[in-house]
């Protein structure tokens, strides 16, 4: 038997199990040598990435294929349409998110090498880092509701410990505490919703639930509780207060991976709305009195309203923020707003019969923006970390004239700045343009607000660029040198991908985003592939 075929066959399990194995081995390896430990961790991450790429190649080569992996079962697993064992169900959307997570994981691990060098407790740091990566992959790839909850908890516990990594700063501990409170309540809400669904349908598998779901009143309650929990984890506005703190106080390498963890929660919301509830959302009309209310229209409008508030608050808070990393964190809140704006706009139209492609286009823009946001915001956080590393300074008021000493970092910041505010040559422009177009067809006011906020975001970052990098040379920063090579390499990887996507957006949309959109909109394919495939 060919080893590559074996790897592809077992790849969904290996993608999660190998980082876990690495995490369990790290405390033993780090007893030998520090350098060996770093090499070991990077090797584990690269090996996992290689398997992700193999799986991605396998999925993309066959359109609409869903790779189902059964844990522990060799014989029949679903008889009469119920899944006993845990299944991993990998389709276009899963593998799309997994690719994003892969990029972030590689960049984060390489960046950590120099960035965290001067700290103690690095063996546990790398253990937790691998655990976040494993948890993220688990959340993304799983097809089982309870398994999703377990990996969500792994991710949030490990993230919490790493947010509070610099324990000599009270604010970092405070941020970690806020994060664990919000995320554990969110996770418990999710568990409650899972329990409701289990009690009704006696199933935990997503495909089986999607097949069985009746959309009764109890299911609507479960959906509301589920979305509340996931929104808490994803940092959508009423529950966004943990996000700037956590992003701002964590070490930059951790923030990078936190961006991925947040988006994994967003993926969870997408999966629940479009796949688990998708079939019944599409043909549900609710009668209240004489009026028919289209429920997914209602949900879409609600999400769009949340998105607008999220964008607004993110941009406004970013305008008046003085701490570099917190400012980027508020920009990240605004970017999350753009994603859910597209998703909400898609929800209003994508299931209706008269839709002429607006909904699909909005979904395309939203999903593409998930990829771009991870890269843009991630790059900005890495630059902020580099500046902190070089100057030990976080406040924007005290920075200035760094462009002379840190040439490469300046270039990377410029790339990130243009990308995050949606300027033409970069990837942010490509996805935001699709979002503007599709929301314009839904309602012109939405796209106007979105464009205005994007311009404000540009203004914010130009101000930062001017005050931190340009301006008069300060004598305090004479000794400042360019950051070490590994940090430059990590930033360079992300910057290269940003420019590549910016130059060839259609290539990425056709090959990677379109399968994900197809996977989302076609939930009957998902059900039949998983249940019928065994």
């Amino acid at each position: 038997m060919n080893i590559i075929d074996d790897l592809i066959l077992h790849s969904p399990a290996l993608i999660v199990a190998i980082p876990l194995l690495g995490a369990f081995l790290t405390p033993l390896v780090s007893r030998i040598n520090d350098k060996l430990r770093n090499i070991f961790v990077i090797f584990i991450v690269l090996f996992t990435s290689a398997i992700v790429l193999l799986l991605a190649n396998d999925i993309y080569s066959l359109g609409g294929k869903i790779h189902t992996y059964v844990f522990g079962g060799s014989a029949a697993v679903t008889q009469g349409g119920f899944a006993i064992r845990i299944l991993f169900e990998v389709d276009g959307l899963n593998i799309f998110m997994a690719l994003i997570a892969t990029i972030l994981a590689i960049a984060g691990v390489i960046y950590s090498w120099s960035f965290m060098k001067e700290n103690t407790g690095l063996d546990k740091y790398y253990t937790l880092y691998l655990l976040i990566i494993a948890g993220m992959f688990g959340m993304i790839l799983t097809g089982d509701m309870f398994n999703f909850f377990v990996f969500l908890e792994i991710t949030s516990i490990a993230s919490c410990a790493l947010i509070a990594f610099w324990t000599n700063k009270g604010k970092a501990i405070d941020a970690g505490f806020k994060y664990i409170v919000i995320s554990s309540i969110g996770a418990l809400f999710i568990l409650f919703a899972i329990a409701i669904l289990y009690g009704q349908y006696n199933a935990l598998n997503m495909a089986v639930l999607a097949d069985k779901i009746q959309f009764s009143f109890l299911d609507k309650i479960a959906l509301a509780v589920l979305i509340t929990g996931l929104a808490m984890k994803a940092g959508i506005v009423p529950m966004h207060m943990w996000l700037p703190d956590a992003y701002g106080r964590a070490p930059s390498s951790v923030t990078l991976i936190l961006v991925g963890a947040t988006q994994a929660s967003l993926y969870g919301a997408l999966r629940m709305i479009f796949t688990v509830y998708g079939g019944s959302l599409s043909n549900t009309l609710n009668q209240i009195g004489d009026v028919n209310i289209d429920l997914n229209l209602l949900l879409g409008i609600f999400i769009v309203a949340l998105a607008l508030v999220t964008i607004f608050i993110g941009v406004l808070m970013a305008l008046k923020e003085n701490n570099f990393k917190r400012m980027i964190a508020f920009a990240a809140v605004a970017e999350i707003g753009y994603m859910i704006l597209a998703i909400g706009a898609a929800l209003t139209t994508v299931f209706s019969a008269t839709d002429t492609g607006t909904g699909v286009m909005a979904l395309k823009g939203g999903l593409f923006h998930i990829l771009n946001d991870a890269l843009d915001v991630g790059l900005l956080f890495l630059v902020a970390g580099a500046i902190y590393y070089a100057t030990k300074e976080t406040s924007l008021n005290r920075l200035g004239g760094l462009a002379r000493n840190m040439k490469y970092t300046t270039i990377f910041f410029l790339i990130g700045l243009l990308a995050v505010s949606g300027m033409p040559p970069m990837n942010g422009f490509a996805s935001k343009l699709i979002i503007y177009e599709s929301t314009y067809q839904v309602n012109p006011i939405l796209s106007i607000i979105a464009i205005l906020c994007s311009i404000l975001l540009l203004a914010v970052f130009v101000k930062v660029f001017h005050s931190a990098f340009l301006g008069p040379k300060q004598s305090r920063f004479d000794e400042v040198k360019e950051v070490p090579k590994s940090m430059l390499l990590a930033m360079g990887i992300i910057a290269c991908i940003i420019i590549f996507i910016g130059l060839f957006p259609n290539l990425v949309i056709d090959n990677i985003v379109q399968p994900a959109v197809n996977a989302i909109t076609n939930n009957s394919n998902y059900i039949s592939n998983v249940i019928g495939g065994i």
């Binding site: 077992h10 199990a17 194995l21 369990f24 081995l25 033993l28 992996y69 522990g72 079962g73 060799s74």
Partner: protein, 165 residues
């Protein structure tokens, strides 16, 4: 002499072996009676925590370091995950079978004569395939893990500056 009074220590000395034995029993019979690796591990760890309360965290930290416990926990976790990985590697053993991650590869086979019987409600230890082995791995992990948590937290909150008699 740190820790609590002599009465507490004596009672602890008497109760400690009983708690240990009970916890280990719960771990070993996880596939037959209520219990398992987590529950038994928690019982044993609570026995160790009792020791910690009675003798004080400074004394306990002198006996065992959290680094050793962490390594022990890693070993337990490694045992668990490698049992799961063996499910994939069972293809090497029986060429006709398609193994999967977390496959219970010891049950329904005659090649390895260990834990391969099917339970008939008679409480035979020699049943249930990899489940007892996994119970032991998880038990080790939970003992080391919970005790490490309690030990580290107790040591961090010890009274500094107060002279311990």
């Amino acid at each position: 002499m740190s820790g609590m009074s002599r009465i507490v220590k004596t009672v602890t000395n008497v109760a400690f072996p009983i708690v240990m034995i009970y916890g280990l029993y719960v771990i070993a019979h996880g596939h037959l009676t209520p219990g398992g690796g987590f529950q038994g591990g928690a019982v044993v760890a609570s026995g160790l925590a009792m020791l910690l309360v009675a003798y004080g965290s400074v004394w306990t930290m002198g006996k065992v370091k959290e680094k050793q416990l962490s390594v022990l926990e890693s070993i337990g976790a490694l045992g668990f995950i490698s049992l799961a990985f063996l499910g994939i590697l069972m293809v090497l053993l029986y060429s006709s079978f398609q193994g999967n991650f977390f496959n219970n590869f010891l049950i329904n086979q005659d090649i390895i004569p260990i834990f391969n019987e099917i339970g008939r409600g008679l409480a035979n230890i020699n049943t249930a395939g990899v489940i007892p082995l996994m119970n032991f791995a998880v038990g080790l992990k939970v003992i080391a893990g919970l005790f490490a948590i309690v030990l580290v937290m107790a040591y961090a909150t010890r009274l500094k500056g107060v002279k311990q008699k």
